[in-house]
């Protein structure tokens, strides 16, 4: 088990997430994809944290920085999910759907040319 493995795993998960963000139609699935991206970042944080713990006799910050950052990311995701739920529900109430491509009220319509 090497550091590279974790980084590659993270990379693949990240790519899946990016692909999801690009191709998904509904906002909620895009949010799922964003969670995947965040998790890939977390994998990197934790893996590098362990790597630094084992290789360096650095300061406390060097040894636990990754964990703290991972926790911050998780908290961020929780907050994001809470706000996201509210946004989705209000979107759904207004448009009766949350397909992102169909919600473009701010865009200028074609007839205004």
């Amino acid at each position: 088990m090497e550091l590279e493995w974790f980084v590659y795993l993270s990379l693949i998960l990240f790519s899946i997430g990016i692909l999801g963000v690009l191709t998904q139609k509904t906002a909620i699935r895009i949010l799922f994809s964003v969670e995947l991206i965040l998790n890939s970042a977390n994998i990197n944080f934790v893996a590098f944290n362990s790597y630094l713990q084992s290789t360096t006799s650095g300061t406390v910050i060097d040894q636990y920085m990754g964990w703290v950052f991972a926790m911050v990311v998780i908290a961020l995701a929780a907050a994001e999910a809470a706000v996201g739920l509210a946004i989705f529900i209000s979107l759904y109430r207004n448009f009766r759907e949350i397909v992102v491509a169909n919600i473009y009220e701010l865009a200028e319509s074609e007839e205004d040319e």
Binding site: V21, L22, V100, A101, Y104, L106
Partner: protein, 714 residues
């Protein structure tokens, strides 16, 4: 004697003297209580006007009377404390305190207690209390707006108190103007009568002429005293010699102009007879101790600006036209003219008004002659008997259902005995019957003129004596015509009756006050003549002089007394002769002096001259300025506005349209042209933007990988 140092020593209050402290606070309370009551009454009046409430006259009167009673009590307390401390020698004559009014300047709320203000405050309190008491009975019959009346009366009294206790010129000016405005309201109390509103306007405008002088005088003084207008500070400077009377001559004359307006001296006395349009209590208050005395008080306060004081002597300052001389001559002239006008007048209140003018002239001339103590002496006695006289006249008028012409009275002694007696006492004092208060004080005034350094002082003295005779004449005439002789009033409509007890109470009180004063003053006079050694308090004038620190020499006192006694008896005898013994002689003299009588009745043409001046000098100048403004200034403005600025505007308009709009429109067109092609990319779908972003990141990474190789991350 160390008295000089003691009297000249000036001490600011709050130097640890708790008595002084509390006295100053009491002073503030004296001023504030009537004001607060006035505001309360005005509020009640407002509610009344809105129809929410109807307040009975009694309640309004109670509020007004109570506030005045309270203030009077406090003022008498202040006086007694002051005198107690003074007699014991504990305390200096000047107690002053000030509160900041405008931060960073010396313009402050200042209260000053000196003999002048302490005595005057107490006197005003007693008189105002009596008048308030009297006013309730006088006003309650058929008057609807008693609340308003008492509100303004309270306001008036409070303003006068504030003026009396004011500690610097600035503060004096404020209360001065409050006095003016409240007198305006009171004179115009019957506002629905055109004559009343005209009289109010006239009084206000005449006063304003003086006020302008006051304001300019304050400005000049302000510059010369380095920004501190406190009376004590000015005195200090004068005593130290940093300011001399010669440098203060102009402000002194300007301040005298203010006194001329307020105290109705020679050119500006026209408003005072007109002010009789107000209710009689107002006249009593206004003539006795409030408004007209304010100007004289102001002069007394600024006495050292008129005179240099050397030791105990007032010395005429070394100025080309000394203000003191002007004041004396104008004062004595006013006295003569007022007396003459009183002689020919037939309106009972106007006779008293003209006599007021005359007595004010006496006081002013005494001030000018350096007789500060005689002036204040006469001021006190005049305030007392004049308020008494007006109240009596009011009682008579009230009884006769608002008949004011003395020719329609007569024989009233039978019906209103007490009124006649009290009025007789007052008239005796006015006439200067020997050993009455008026006699003593008037004598002191004439003596002070005789002993002064005024140019042509002998002439002034003679005029003063002549005026005394005329005063005695018209006083006697008035008493005879009103109370004695045949009954000339309309007997079918009017049934005279004795004045009510409510009305009589103030009359008797004031009359007894006059009697007390007479006895007191006479003791002093006799003691002086007989060179007796009595306690200082009995020698009233000398007492005053000690307190003020300025003595008038008393040379020739006995001679003056003899002269004036003779003149008084001549005047009274003439009156009795012309009215009781031989009325036909009177009529013949009248017909022969018809022209002169008309001249007097026209007030010597002074008002006519003023009106002519306004019509033919002031208004044309004003119109000329107006024409200049409308033609030249407006023309210039319009010219620039119409032609020059229009041309500039046209040019800039063209520039704006051609150049700036061209640039703006051109850039807008080019941007629109390019944007119409680029906007296709912006389809409003976030996913598309994300794709482009990812593509960009990917290309960047590709570039890094291709051209920068291994990045030194570790």
């Amino acid at each position: 004697m160390a008295e000089a140092e003691k009297t000249l020593e000036i001490i600011k209050a709050f130097t640890g003297d708790s008595t002084a402290d509390s006295m100053i606070l009491m002073t503030a309370a004296i001023v504030l209580i009537p004001m607060v009551a006035a505001v309360l009454l005005i509020a009640i009046r407002y509610i009344e006007v809105r129809g929410k409430l109807q307040v009975s006259p009694l309640r309004a009167a109670v509020i007004g009377n109570l506030s005045i009673l309270l203030s009077t009590g406090i003022s008498i307390t202040v006086l007694s404390m002051y005198f107690a401390n003074y007699v014991k020698g504990i305390q200096t004559p000047y107690i002053e305190a000030s509160w900041e009014f405008i931060a960073g300047t010396k313009l402050e709320w200042a209260f000053l207690i000196d003999p002048l203000s302490a005595m005057m405050g107490a006197l005003l309190g007693i008189i105002a209390l009596m008048i308030h008491f009297y006013a309730y009975d006088y006003m309650r019959h058929g008057e609807e707006e008693v609340t308003r009346f008492f509100a303004f009366l309270n306001f008036f009294t409070g303003s006068m108190w504030g003026f009396i206790y004011a500690g610097n010129l600035f503060n004096s000016l404020i209360f001065w103007e409050l006095l003016g405005v409240s007198s305006y309201f009171l004179i115009g109390y019957y506002w629905y009568k055109p004559s009343a509103s005209a009289a109010a306007m006239k009084a206000f405008l005449y006063n304003k002429v003086g006020d302008v002088g006051f304001l300019v005088g304050i400005f000049l003084t302000y510059g010369k005293t380095g920004g501190d207008l406190s009376y004590t500070h000015i005195f200090e400077l004068i005593h130290k010699g940093e300011l001399s009377a010669s440098t203060l001559a102009v402000p002194a004359i300007l301040i005298f102009l203010a006194a001329v307006g307020k105290s109705s001296q020679f050119p500006l006395f026209g408003w005072l007879p007109e002010a009789m349009e107000g209710p009689t209590p107002v006249s009593a208050l206004l003539h006795s101790s409030t408004m007209v005395k304010a100007g004289l008080l102001l002069l007394m306060r600024n006495f050292l600006m008129l005179y240099d004081v050397g030791g105990f002597e007032a010395v005429l300052p070394d100025v080309s036209i000394p203000p003191a001389a002007i004041i004396t001559w104008i004062g004595i002239l006013t006295a003569l003219l007022g007396a003459l006008m009183a002689t020919t007048s037939t309106d009972i209140k106007r006779i008293l008004a003209f006599s007021t003018i005359s007595q004010l002239g006496y006081i002013a001339s005494a001030i000018g002659a350096g007789g500060l103590s005689p002036a204040f002496f006469h001021l006190i006695s005049h305030a007392t008997f004049k308020s008494l006289l007006f109240l009596c006249a009011g009682a008579v008028i009230h009884n006769l259902h608002h008949v004011q012409d003395i020719r329609e009275m007569g024989g009233l002694y039978r019906h209103m005995k007490w009124t006649a007696i009290t009025m007789g006492i007052g008239l005796l004092a006015l006439a200067g019957f020997p050993f009455m208060s008026g006699f003593v004080s008037k004598d002191a005034v004439i003596l002070s003129i005789a002993n002064s350094d005024i140019p042509f002082k002998e002439g002034a003295q003679a005029i003063g004596l002549l005026t005394a005779a005329i005063t005695a004449f018209y006083s006697t005439r008035m008493f005879y015509v009103v109370f004695l002789g045949e009954e000339r009033y309309d007997k079918e409509k009017i049934v005279p009756h004795a004045s009510s007890k409510l009305m009589l109470f103030p009359l008797i009180t004031l009359a007894s006050l006059v009697v007390i004063e007479s006895i007191w003053f006479s003791i002093g006079l006799i003691a002086h003549l007989a060179e007796l050694e009595l306690p200082e308090i009995f020698l009233f004038e000398g007492f005053l002089g000690n307190m003020f620190g300025v003595h008038t020499p008393t040379d020739g006192a006995l001679q003056g007394i003899i002269y004036s006694t003779i003149m008084v008896f001549i005047g009274m005898g003439a009156a009795i002769y012309f009215y009781k013994i031989n009325p036909n002689a009177r009529e013949s003299i009248r017909s022969s002096l018809k022209f002169f009588e008309d001249f007097i009745n026209n007030r010597f043409g002074v008002d006519i001259a003023i009106f002519w001046f306004v019509d033919h000098v002031a208004l044309p100048i004003g119109n000329a300025f107006k024409t200049f403004d409308s033609v030249v200034v407006d023309g210039l403005v319009n010219f620039f506005g119409r032609t020059a600025s229009l041309a500039i505007a046209d040019f800039s308009d063209q520039f704006d349209q051609k150049v700036i709009d061209g640039i703006v429109n051109g850039s807008a067109y080019s941007i629109k042209y390019s944007v119409q092609r680029l906007r296709k990319l912006q389809d409003g779908i976030v996913g598309d933007y994300a794709k482009f972003m990812i593509l960009g990141i990917g290309m960047l990474l590709l570039v890094f990988n291709l051209f920068f190789g291994k990045l030194a991350l570790f």
